[in-house]
Symmetry: C2
Subunit: 216 residues, 2 copies
């Protein structure tokens, strides 16, 4: 990603925290709370109020005469910022363990699965968590018939790039890459890599550090 794009995109750490605020605000709404302050949100979430203020500023939330944020309006502002009002249509490529898990995971606010793809004849034709599995070779014809926003890639890393090459002529907007592979794509396709091993490494470093201190 070039420098210019990075700057225009906004502050990535703040963007990544937006779903957390959304969760909390929806909680508030369900409880009938209509106004919430940065201190209240911060306390619930174990953060500093200034972080909440700075993060929310990104989405320009409505405030009630400096008495706090309007819950409904702030939910709306976050969803507008992320374009989450209409869910993105998504397909999964690679119906392995991780892939089929992602199909069944309902924790995503903004995604609607309209299909899955694999090259394994045994999987093609099946339905996983209600999503039909198609032959990857039929991807491009599928893509001309149905609008695909996001491709979630969960193939083996060894075939990740060739898979991307196969599909990148179709009019997709983004690839969410769950493989460890470094991918090269055309510049109009947004790319996001999700790396579970990174979290595990951080956790293991914390465990090791704790071990080196003595608690008992």
């Amino acid at each position: 990603m070039s420098e210019t794009i990075k700057k225009r995109l906004g502050k990535v750490p703040s963007i990544r925290r937006l779903p957390l605020y959304l969760d909390r605000l929806i909680d508030c709404k369900n409880k009938g709370i209509t106004i919430v302050t940065s201190s209240e949100l911060a306390k619930e979430m174990g953060m500093l109020p200034i972080v909440v203020k700075k993060d929310l500023q990104l989405v320009e939330p409505p405030t009630k005469k400096r008495a706090g944020y309007l819950v409904d309006g702030t939910i709306d502002a976050i969803q507008s910022f992320l374009d989450w009002h209409q869910p993105y249509s998504a397909v999964l490529i690679g119906v392995g363990n991780l892939g089929s898990a992602l199909l069944g995971y309902h924790g995503f606010n903004g995604i609607n699965f309209i299909g899955a793809f694999d090259i394994d004849k045994a999987k093609i034709g099946q339905s996983i968590h209600g999503v039909p599995v198609h032959d990857l070779n039929h991807f491009s014809s599928f893509a001309t018939k149905k609008k695909i926003d996001i491709v979630i890639l969960a193939t083996p890393a060894s075939v990740a790039q060739e898979t991307v090459n196969k599909i990148s002529m179709s009019p997709i907007k983004a690839i969410w890459n769950f493989t460890p592979a470094k991918l090269h794509v055309l510049p109009h396709i947004a790319l996001q890599r999700e790396d579970l091993s990174a979290g595990l490494a951080e956790l293991c470093a914390k465990i090791k550090h704790n071990k080196q201190q003595s608690f008992f």
Copy 2:
């Protein structure tokens, strides 16, 4: 996490990148390459050589007379740093979609699942991806019989904290939290939150940004 711990832990971004280097180095090893330079690694991974140098410095890798890093020794150094020589024994709590996926995901280098727990009678007694599912109420007796290093938490967010409260008297070392809940634990338990929504938010912000530019 207190300031002191953060400093002692080392540079988190570097730690999170270590698994990527490990992957590449194992690739090299399989190809029979015995020495690799920071520039070579950087090029393959789409990074700057200085980043590779700084990151690897963290694990104090063996170098061959300033001609590059010894592949075998560097693999070893990373694994030592993360304590990945022996896999950690792990259990999963919450055998939902995400949870059962994690049980079947083999992309983790350092983890060995020895059991799973749930409160759903329909799941208890089953075996998911070869891992037996136990009654969560039997957790503490299980933990006295078998050493548990890492608890992977994939329950609904609404019961995450009470689940943690139930198990935190057992001698576990870490909780890897896949729920959106903010958890409070005793200080000797390492805590790592994995937030898939954060990645999705980042991706959506990139898509929106791309849309605002005109490509055609």
